[in-house]
Symmetry: C2
Subunit: 355 residues, 2 copies
C-alpha cells in the first residue's frame, strides 16, 4: 500500500502541536505506529514516541523528527493547493513526520539493512529544557542509541551537514523610575538599551568555512520588553538576543563573545538562557559518506540549530535530510509539495534496503 | 478638633488605590465626608465623590484631588519614620487628600468666604478615558463648576501655575518573520526601532518661557514591546512615547511634531493614544493673584500634566497647590512630612476664611 504523503502531511498539520501542546499529535502518531504490528517496539514517554525494530542487524539508524511547531502566523489551518500543502508546520516538520510514518508499514513486513529507530519528540522549538530528545537521552539513552542519526528537518533535498550552535541571552538594562514629566530625576532603562539595538542592527555576521562548507552566522534581537506605566520613566528593559555560530567555535568561546557584546553595549546584566553546541559536518563518517555518495545527494551546511548537535554530543554521527524548504521554516507561507515528500521517502527506503 | 494629618495620610496610604481599583478608597472618603453632617451635599458617581457647601456665597472654590496611584514600586505598605510618612501615594497625592478631608469638618460648623466643592476622583494616572473628573464634567458639569479650582497635587508649598500638555503615541515598526538562523530571509522589526530609541535617548528637550515661567519639556520612551518566539525574527515592535510640552504650543502642533518625529525615525505607523492640552499660568486671574499675593506664596510652572488643564478648558481658572515634593511623585521613595501637611491646611483654611 502506498501512502499518500501529501494527504498525510495535511492531516498532521490539522492536529495543532505548538510547543507545549504536542499531546494530541503524539497520540495520533502512537496510534498509527501501533497499527504496524509486532515488528515495531513502541515506547511512549511524555509526548515522545519511539518505535524500534529488533531484527538484530549489525548497525542501527535512528530517524527522528520533532512534533512541535512555532506559534501560528495566520497559517494555523492547513490548506491544499494542487500538489502543495500550505500551513503551520508543513515544512518544519510535519512533512518529515509523514515520511517517517510512511516508512513504518514497510518495516512491518520487510527486513531492512539496518535496525531502525523512529523517534518523534516534543519541545524542539523552545528552550532546551523542554526538548523531548534531551529527556530521552537523559532517561532512556539506550532507546535513542544508533550508528547514524538522520533528522528529517527540512533540507530541500540536500544533506545538511552538522549544524550551527545557538545561544540565547537576556541582556538587562536598569534605570531609575521617575515621573515622565521630570525624566531628569530618573534614568530611562529603555533609552539605555538603544546602543545594543543599534549594534545588533548594524552587526555584520561572519561567513565561516568548515570542511569546505560555508556557515553563515547570525545575531538577532528576538524579544524586547520594557515599561511599567505610561507616566513613568522605566527602570528596566530586557532584550533577548539569539546568536548562531559556526561549528568552528567552541560553545564556551561563543557564549563569552555574545556576553561581552552585550556588556560592551552597556547591559547591566546578561543571563544565558540557553546555549547549544554546534555539530561538525562529519562528512567522512562511513554512513554519512554512503548516504551522500551512493545517491549523489548535494551537501550544504545546516545554518539552524538542530538536534544533530545532541546526537553528535553523544558520539552519534548525524545529519539533516528531510522534505521542505528550510528557508520557509517559521514563515507565514511554509509549505511542502508532493514530489519532495515522495523523493525523500524513496531515498530513505533505498538507503535502508526497503525497496 | 485638630486632625492629625500625618496619621490620616498614613491611613489613606494603607488603602490601596492603584488606577482602576479606587473603590475602597472612595468608600472610605465618602464615609468620612458623610460624618461631617448636613452642611456637605454629597454625591457619589463611580469611584468619584463630590461634597459641596450651599451657603449661597457669591463665588465658589473647587478643591480637588485624585484617589488613584501609579503601581507600587516596592512601597505598597506605608511606613512612618518620625514626622514623615513614606509609601505609595504619600506625595501623589494622599497627603493632599488628607488635607481636603481635614478641611471638611470646618465646613460643617463655620461659613467660609466662598462656597466650597471638594472633589475626589478616580483614574488620573492612566489614559484620559478613565479620568473621573472627565466623567464628572461630561455627566454632571454643574457639580464641578466654580470660579477657581485648586488641585492638591504635590507642589512642595509652591503654587504651580498652569501645566504642560502631555501626549502619548504608539509608534509601530513592521518587519517580516523568518527563522532566526536565516535572518536575511526576514526583516527584524526590533532592529528597525533602534533609530527611534537612539533619537529619544539623545533628544534635548527645550526650556520654554511663558509669562516669565520656565516650562521644561520632555520626551521619553515609556514602553517597548516586540518579539514572538525566541527562534523567530520579529515582525512587529511597538514603542510608546510620552511627550510633555509647554503651554506656548497648541495641542495640534505638539501632536503633529511628535508624530513627525516618529515617522522621521522610520516608524511605519503612529497612533495617538491620548493628547491633553496644556494650561496657561493664568497668574493675573484675581483669585489666583489673591492666593499667591496675600500669602506671599512662591510661584513656578507645573511640569507634569494635571487636571488644571481640564478646568482651564472649561473656562475655570485653576492652579496646583498641595503638600509633598513633586519630584518624588512616582518614585520608590515618595513621602510627605507633617510640617508640609499642616502648612498646606493652614493656608487653605486662611484663604477660605475658615480661621
Amino acid at each position: 500500500m502506498t501512502t499518500d504523503l501529501l494527504a498525510l502531511t495535511e492531516q498532521l498539520c490539522g492536529v495543532p502541536s505548538v510547543s507545549g501542546a504536542e499531546g494530541a499529535l503524539a497520540d495520533d502518531v502512537e496510534f498509527r505506529l501501533r497499527a504496524v504490528g509486532p515488528a515495531l517496539h513502541i515506547q511512549r514517554i511524555g509526548a515522545n514516541v519511539v518505535a524500534r525494530t529488533e531484527f538484530g542487524c549489525e548497525r542501527r539508524v535512528v530517524l527522528g523528527g520533532h512534533l512541535d511547531t512555532v506559534p501560528a502566523n495566520g497559517n494555523a489551518s492547513p490548506r491544499r493547493e494542487g500538489d502543495v500543502v500550505h500551513g503551520l508546520g508543513a515544512a518544519d516538520m510535519k512533512g518529515g513526520l509523514a515520511v517517517l510514518l510512511a516508512l513504518a508499514p514497510s518495516l512491518g513486513h520487510r527486513r531492512p539493512r539496518f535496525d531502525v529507530t523512529l523517534v518523534f519528540y516534543e519541545g524542539e522549538e523552545v528552550a532546551d529544557e523542554f526538548n523531548g530528545l534531551r529527556r530521552l537521552f537523559d532517561e532512556s539513552p539506550t532507546l535513542v542509541q544508533g550508528d547514524l542519526a538522520i533528522l528529517l528537518e527540512p533540507t530541500g533535498g540536500w544533506v545538511e551537514a552538522g549544524c550551527q550552535g545557538t545561544i540565547h541571552v537576556r541582556a538587562g538594562f536598569d534605570g531609575v523610575r521617575s515621573h515622565s514629566a521630570r525624566p531628569w530625576m530618573g534614568r530611562n532603562a529603555i533609552h539605555r538599551a538603544a546602543p545594543l539595538l543599534q549594534r545588533c542592527a548594524e552587526f555584520e555576521a561572519a561567513i565561516v568555512d568548515v570542511d569546505s562548507l560555508e556557515y553563515r552566522e547570525a545575531l538577532q534581537v528576538v524579544r524586547i520588553e520594557g515599561g511599567i506605566a505610561n507616566n513613568v520613566v522605566p527602570d528596566r528593559c530586557t532584550v533577548v538576543l539569539n546568536r548562531r555560530y559556526a561549528p568552528s567555535r567552541s560553545l564556551d568561546d561563543a557564549v563569552a563573545e555574545v556576553v561581552a557584546f552585550c556588556k560592551d553595549a552597556g547591559a547591566d546584566d546578561v543571563e544565558v538562557i540557553n546555549a547549544s553546541m554546534a555539530a561538525p559536518p562529519n562528512l567522512m563518517h562511513p554512513l554519512i559518506a554512503e548516504l551522500t555518495g551512493a545517491y549523489d545527494l548535494p551537501v550544504r551546511p545546516k545554518l539552524g540549530w538542530t538536534d544533530v548537535a545532541r546526537f553528535a554530543a553523544h558520539g552519534i554521527a548525524a545529519c539533516n535530510f528531510g522534505p521542505g524548504d528550510p528557508e520557509l521554516a517559521h514563515t507565514a507561507d511554509e509549505r511542502v509539495d508532493r514530489v519532495t515528500l515522495d523523493a525523500c521517502l524513496a531515498l530513505l527506503e533505498a538507503f535502508l534496503g526497503l525497496r
